[in-house]
């Protein structure tokens, strides 16, 4: 089945130790998003790719970077995780049709714990 896959589902890292979260999709969608969701809060956009075009949110910390080597994969790199970066990280895709931005398809998320 076509889907959005995130690996790993759970990630434990040490304070300051770089970590990479992975997202892949079989939907062949143009747009891929990374959201951060802290406990009991709404998801918040970090950045997104429209094809190879990278779009960063103004308030996304420099500590967060992203790579999209091809249509199917997108990575979230946290260069020096702090305790405040512990959260659920959600990847989502969207077809990106010219009719407008509509339904997004979410992966199951990666829960990051920083020790």
């Amino acid at each position: 089945d076509a889907m959005v896959i995130q690996n790993p589902r759970y990630q434990v890292t040490q304070f300051g130790k770089p970590v990479t979260l992975s997202c892949s999709q079989t939907l062949n969608h143009n747009v891929m998003y990374w959201y951060q969701q802290k406990s009991s809060q709404a998801p918040k956009l970090l950045f997104h790719y429209y094809d190879k075009d990278f779009n960063n949110e103004a308030d996304t910390p420099d500590n967060f970077q992203s790579r999209r080597p091809n249509t199917s994969f997108c990575f979230l790199d946290i260069r020096s995780p702090g305790l405040g970066d512990a959260a659920m990280y959600l990847c989502a895709t969207e077809q990106g049709a010219t009719s407008g931005r509509e339904t997004q398809y979410f992966g199951p998320g990666t829960r990051l714990l920083v020790l």
């Binding site: 959005v4 995130q6 747009v31 998003y33 959201y35 809060q41 709404a42 998801p43 918040k44 956009l45 997104h48 429209y50 779009n55 949110e57 659920m88 959600l90 989502a92 969207e94 990106g96 407008g100 931005r101 509509e102 339904t103 997004q104 398809y105 979410f106 992966g107 199951p108 998320g109 829960r111």
Partner: protein, 110 residues
């Protein structure tokens, strides 16, 4: 910035009862979406209603939209224990991203 505000923040009902959640938003929209999130999981798209629509149905879900009041409601009829989840309304931001409200945490007791 947050666009939607859900009300109530938490709702507890018995199985078989109806659950109504409300969402208010601030700016003009092209469409409004509702998503469900089971505890510790990703979001699942439930329904999209366009700005020129007033009501939409999908199975046990009924969504209304009042653009004059900038509000939407989600009704789940004949609720089941499996409906226990958080429900978010979302509108589109300038980047095409979704801007979510804080969500309503629904608990359906068997």
């Amino acid at each position: 910035s947050q666009q939607g505000e859900e009300d109530p923040q938490a709702l507890s009902i018995q199985e078989g009862e109806n659950a109504t959640m409300n969402c208010s938003y601030k700016t003009s929209i092209n469409n409004l979406q509702w998503y469900r999130q089971n505890s510790g999981r990703g979001l699942v798209h439930l329904i999209l209603i366009r700005s020129n629509e007033r009501e939409k149905h999908s199975g046990r879900l009924r969504v209304t939209l009042d653009t004059s009041k900038k509000s939407s409601s989600l009704l789940i009829t004949a609720s089941r224990a499996a409906d226990t989840a958080s429900y978010f309304c979302a509108t589109s931001g300038s980047q095409g991203n979704l801007i979510f409200g804080k969500g309503t945490k629904l608990s359906v007791k068997p």
